[in-house]
Amino acid sequence: MIEELFQIEKHAYKDSCIHRLDARVKILLAFAAIIAIVAVPYSNMVYTVGGIFFAFFIVLWALTRLSPRIYLQRLIEIVPLWGIVIFFQIFLKNKYYVDYHVVMTLPFGIAIYAESIQFAFILLVKFIVSISFIILLSSTTKVQDMLEGGVRLGLPADFALILGMMIRYLFVFGYIYRKVNESLATRCFNAFDRRLPWKYRMRQLGYTLGTMFIRAYEQGERVYTSMLCRGYGRSSFLYIKKKPLCRGDIAFLCASLAFVIVIPVTIWLTAIRFF
């Protein structure tokens, strides 16, 4: 995961109208879209809301001028594990349906149900839409901007101070992680090589991770010393300049929030009236 960090940050440094939006706008939009799609009940309504949200996401992604391949690569990295859980849904019954109709019977008494397939698709749509908005947010917003946006939205200062330092050192540890892996590879060490005794592999990995832990601690001590030289103290606080949203940001935020709220509500009201 840490290796993706450099790639994600590289994309965030590109320029487009979405990149130029204030981080607060993108955070609020992503969170609102995720909350809205998750709030839609597990029903067929999800297909319509999810479809419209995904179309909205595609428009936003097109405006970022980033390649669709970047989105697909990131999606493929995230989906597999929970994709398996979603796939297994087709064999399982859940509390959202009363009657189940068998579509196919397999050996060992395993059956695939029509309702379970439907539920799996509902989960998949919700999952993909949620992930897509996170990908949009992180691919178009620099990590530091995201932190500043978070602070301006009310993230506690103590938390923000440590989170900011953590983010700064994520990149340092990204490099260390890469170097450690390279040096392990240079020594022809592969943790998954079964020809090596398991005990030996564990010891090597344990000491590697332990060394990294100690290096982190020592790095932290050095950081403290250098921060002291630059006027840091317990009483110092994180100061982030006030930055009012510009008209364009406000207009975009209002329009997209209205869209994200109105669409599910309208579809829900239509569904109620229909039934």
């Binding site: 909350i35 953590m166 540890f173 990995l205 832990f213 100690i214 290096r215 982190a216 601690y217 932290g220």
Partner: protein, 218 residues
């Protein structure tokens, strides 16, 4: 164990968020009271390191791999379960917002599972085992295993309440997988603690050092 968005109804996610926020507030209070000036950058850098440590793929068995969660390790080394809550909350925020690993609406549940339950189980079971075994390895190992296994089982229960996975199958699947990953977590935790005790004993919690000084070592 990182539950993504969509796998939990929004109201359940909100409940877990409220519970998680209580623990985050307590962890913030711990940080304010317990973290000395020089410890603040150290904890921040450690959080970045824990993130990197979690990126290492570790061989489990039958071709599967897992990664370190680190709740028990952080709690034991820094001497407080709130340290685990604090650091894992930071890590989970970064994982969720930057990488989409774990959801936004489900982040409360993830913080409870890995940070709160992992940290508290890891810390208190370590000290409980220490009283019985008087051996750091025999205490840190099982504590780390429990800190991996119990949150996984809780995660299965949460998924059951969410209606996205049946209880029995969830408990078996999550239990078996994390019982195996837990062994790796246990071995790595023991090795890391031993390495720190040997190389930089001053970094580790004083209680653990005292136990080592008494000759209680594994």
């Amino acid at each position: 164990m990182h539950i993504p968005d969509a796998f939990m109804p929004i109201w359940q996610g909100a409940i877990y968020w409220i519970i998680a926020l209580v623990f985050i507030m307590l962890a913030l209070r711990w940080a304010k009271n317990q973290l000395t000036e020089e410890k603040i950058p150290v904890v921040a850098v450690l959080a970045a390191a824990v993130f990197a440590l979690m990126s290492f793929n570790l061989p489990v068995s039958m071709g599967t791999s897992g990664h370190l969660i680190g709740g028990a390790l952080v709690a034991i080394v820094l001497g407080s379960p709130f340290a685990a809550v604090f650091i894992l909350t930071l890590v989970l925020i970064v994982q969720g917002v930057l990488f989409g690993d774990g959801g936004i609406t489900t982040m409360g549940a993830n913080i409870i599972n890995m940070g709160v339950i992992g940290g508290f189980v890891g810390y208190y079971s370590f000290h409980g085992f220490m009283r019985v075994t008087k051996n750091i390895s025999f205490s840190a190992g099982p504590a780390a295993w429990l800190a991996c296994f119990i949150p996984a089982e809780v995660c299965a229960v949460e998924m059951y309440f969410a209606g996205t996975f049946p209880l029995r199958e969830g408990l078996i699947a999550m239990g078996l997988y994390h019982a195996l990953i837990g062994i790796i977590e246990a071995v790595i935790t023991v090795l890391v603690i031993h390495l720190i005790l040997r190389v930089r004993p001053d970094l580790i919690d004083e209680k653990v050092r005292q136990l080592q000084a008494k000759g209680v070592n594994g």
